[in-house]
Assembly symmetry: C2
Homo-oligomer: 245 residues x 2
């Protein structure tokens, strides 16, 4: 039975971190919201699960993964669940928690990316909080990008098995997520990220290596890879971008 | 060997979710930053781990747990790791991921609580972003508290084993975290939360039940329970509080 991924059909958003892992592993999965209603797919299938007034443990928000009858919500949780099955994580439980810790730092970073364009209210349009978004983005560029990327660069640098991967000597789902973060930042903030490769050489090399993996390269060329756009997490609003000090 | 919890010594903050689980289980643990420097404890011990220029997988931020040589960062990750060991989570792996999904929704909620007083920049004082904090808090009270608490109330309501616990028929660490969220909201927003018990009866009953558990009651009376204050996550600034519509 294929995995069923539930996420919005027109954005990369948070679902993309899961899609990348499934694609790298060439896993059998259905991107449910992008499927036809004639097969019981599409967004209504997702809303029905979230809106259930009788089921146990309904998810708060997408993305969530359905594996048989089991529903697993939240990106880091889905990836931790899938990791060993897709051979994108160690089998050892302690090491899986270390990996999960790295992914949860990415979760926090992604939430901060979202808030660069929505610092006041998710329920309001960007245009209604543009001034606050400029302030928050300035802080994000000046302090938060360096703090997070500097951290991941250091973890790569200090990996006892070498800086090619964020954990151990082989590819994990966190490597794929770091690729996505790097791509997203470049899309949203081209000015701020102009010198990213110079400042974070190990991260930059990791990004290039992930892009060249055959399954990832094929995915990025396919129409399954939704282009970045201004409904997603990483949005390009030129007025929020600036050169990094 | 006792567990070592690393977190700031003068606030409940995110560390409190871990402290509550350790206290409920009567686990042998050291709250390292609150210990004496004569024993190699205190905040410098935490900074040394985070600042290491050679260790693998250094944590991005506190809290983190040290179990022997293993370092586990992030609240939800720590709780997922400790859960079965402290008998505050099922042993079944699939169910542990369901529980982790619930905890990660609390993580997101707590991040939003933080941003009510710091919507623009963590690096700046509250006073420097007070106007934006008022806007964000108004949105938080009007839309986000109802969305999150309504969700958890529904999960309690739809628990096949009854609404006394968020998952299954026994206490889990998520129950303890929901107690903490409830307490924190009441502290930070006494006006907005004045009618919380009427609106969320199952959550309210869960909070009362947790408070009465002997180990929790003893902990709350002890000096190990740091009072809420305006350096933590849940802060009481009267100008951010208002009646809920």
């Amino acid at each position: 039975m294929p995995y069923e991924l539930y996420y919005w059909d027109s954005i990369q958003g948070r679902g993309e971190f899961v899609r990348l892992a499934l694609e790298e592993a060439d896993a059998d999965y259905v991107d449910v919201c992008r499927g036809p209603s004639s097969k019981g797919q599409g967004i209504p299938a997702m809303i029905a699960i979230m809106g259930s007034r009788s089921d146990a443990d309904i998810p708060f928000a997408p993305p969530f993964l359905k594996d048989g009858e089991r529903i697993i919500p939240h990106v880091a949780n889905i990836l931790m669940y899938l990791g060993p099955k897709l051979r994108l994580a160690p089998q050892n439980e302690g090491e899986r928690h270390v990996l999960n810790g790295l992914q949860l730092t990415i979760t926090d970073f992604v939430a901060e990316v979202h808030d660069t364009h929505h610092p006041i209210a998710t329920s309001k349009y960007y245009e209604d909080q543009k001034e606050e978004a400029k302030s928050r983005s300035a802080e994000f560029i000046q302090n938060r990008i360096p703090k997070y990327l500097g951290y991941f660069e250091r973890v790569l640098q200090q990996n006892p098995e070498g800086p090619a991967h964020i954990f151990g000597g082989g590819l994990t789902y966190v490597d794929l997520s770091l690729f996505q973060v790097f791509e997203g930042l470049r899309y949203a903030f081209p000015r701020a990220t102009a010198h990213l490769s110079d400042r974070y050489p190990h991260l930059s090399a990791l990004r290039a290596a992930v892009m060249k993996r055959p399954n990832i390269a094929r995915y990025l060329q396919s129409d399954r890879r939704i282009p970045f756009n201004e409904n997603g997490i990483f949005r390009h609003y030129p007025e929020l971008d600036r050169d990094m000090a």
